[in-house]
């Protein structure tokens, strides 16, 4: 009897809790963008329009463990955008300090939210299977996303292979360039990712990744304009298919003075003839008592897609875009931040606070200032 009771008590003590919150995080980011681009109609005829906008982006994430085999991550990012596109009420009017409207004068702000859930099932010590489902909603747009992933550790966790597939389906309103609604449209995005992470030494880890994406359907946002050779504005016309390939390599090196150096490089190519290379260097230095200082620099170069133009033929029937994001440019980002990991006794074992600032600037007249702060608790 006593033995049976003892076994029952030990079994109860060894059983994993049915539901346990592992961590909670929140983050708030503010983006302040200025610049001009030919896709925007918010400006005088014959010139690039305003790309001014601000974005307030709150995010929240909760990670919970259910039993000993399932981890659930629920994540809710939101965007409040003052102007996602040119304001057609400004058509042919001078650029002012007021941010352009999102699509028409119907709304000055566009609120977008996503509900994203990732369930990870721990098959065994070395294998995880993940399932992701997400729903996104904003004023003229909604989207579903589903994903499946497999993570496999090998060689005493020195090698980790990660493979995932995603399917995203978007439905959105279609607009003429004067802001008039033309009904609904859709696009599909199918994505495959492969990542190999390898420990190279007790202080070095590297990863190589491939990401392939196929997009089908209406790939334009439908309201962007193209400058015509007669100084008028016409509609953007994009192919209904796009194959995109990215290959990335990353390396993290521990530094003996309590620091870390991280470098990454990515090459990108697609069948719209865009070719891009992106490099980034991040240096992290631990100062004292959990305080870390981070500095980073990123450089990106891309060629224009083959149908980019600043003076399209008015009666031409081919593909054309004046979108500054699809032009040839060099972009640089410089930034830095402070992270503070606080250890506390009791329920909360780790509290994380961080502050960061970045400036993104491009050779084709676009500058974005980004300020972000995060707060997290690890239970």
């Amino acid at each position: 009897m006593t033995l049976a009771l003892l076994v029952a008590v030990v079994a109860q003590a060894a059983a994993p809790p049915p539901y346990e919150i592992e961590s909670m995080r929140v983050r708030f980011t503010h983006f302040d963008q200025r610049g001009r681009g030919y896709q925007s109609a918010a400006g005088p005829a014959g010139t690039a329009g305003s790309e001014q906008l601000t974005v307030e982006q709150p995010q929240a994430e909760v990670v919970a463990r259910i039993g000993d085999r399932v981890t659930e991550r629920v994540w809710i990012p939101m965007d409040v955008v003052t102007a996602a596109s040119p304001d057609h009420s400004r058509y042919n009017r001078p650029i002012t300090d007021d941010p352009p409207d999102a699509i028409s004068t119907a709304s000055r702000r566009n609120v977008a939210g996503t509900f994203d859930a990732l369930t990870t099932y721990h098959v065994d010590r070395d294998t995880d299977v993940g399932f992701r489902a997400a729903f996104h909603k904003e004023e003229p747009f909604e989207s579903w996303a589903f994903g499946l992933g497999l993570t496999r550790s090998m060689a005493e966790e020195n090698t980790v292979l990660d493979a995932s597939v995603y399917q995203v389906v978007d439905w959105f309103d279609r607009f003429k360039i004067d802001g008039m609604r033309q009904g609904r449209s859709n696009r599909s995005t199918t994505n495959l990712n492969l990542t190999l992470t390898q420990v190279l030494s007790p202080t070095t880890v590297a990863a190589v990744s491939y990401g392939g994406t196929l997009q089908l359907g209406t790939l334009a946002n439908t309201w962007s304009t193209v400058m015509l050779s007669n100084r008028e504005r016409g509609e953007e016309r994009l192919p209904r298919e796009r194959w995109r390939h990215a290959l990335a390599a990353r390396l993290a090196q521990w530094l003996p003075w309590q620091g870390a150096l991280k470098v990454s490089y990515r090459i990108y190519v697609d069948d719209w003839s865009a070719l891009a290379s992106t490099g980034e260097v991040t240096l992290v230095q631990r100062l004292f008592a959990g305080l870390r200082l981070r500095a980073s620099y990123r450089a990106h170069h891309q060629t224009a897609v083959r149908f980019f133009t600043k003076a399209a033929t008015p009666d031409g029937a081919g593909y054309r875009t004046g979108d500054s994001d699809l032009a040839r440019f060099v972009a640089q980002t410089v930034g830095g931040g402070l992270t503070w990991d606080l250890s506390r006794a009791g329920v909360v074992s780790d509290v994380h606070v961080d502050l960061g600032y970045e400036r993104y600037f491009r050779s084709n007249d676009l500058t974005v200032d980004i300020a972000t702060c995060g707060f997290g608790m690890l239970f």
Binding site: Q59, A134, N191, S201, G211, R266, R292
Partner: protein
Amino acid sequence: MNRTRGYAGRFRRAVGLALTAAVVAGVIGGSGGCVVVPQNRRKHLADPMMRFEEDALDAHRRQKFYTTREAAAGGDGMPAGGGCGCQ
């Protein structure tokens, strides 16, 4: 005609570069496959500073920012486009 040839050449060059990078990555991965660092010697690798992305929410805001402002995207485990009104 020359323009078309220029694009084709650029595309071939890009594919060549990508293949070269893949070979380099394979060599790194292959050579790394021989390395087995025991767990008790991986304390530096377990430091949060050594994570490629220290914070998932920070990684998301960066990923979305660049995906919606540049022609290039992907290679970070997420779709290159889709799920947003921009691209």
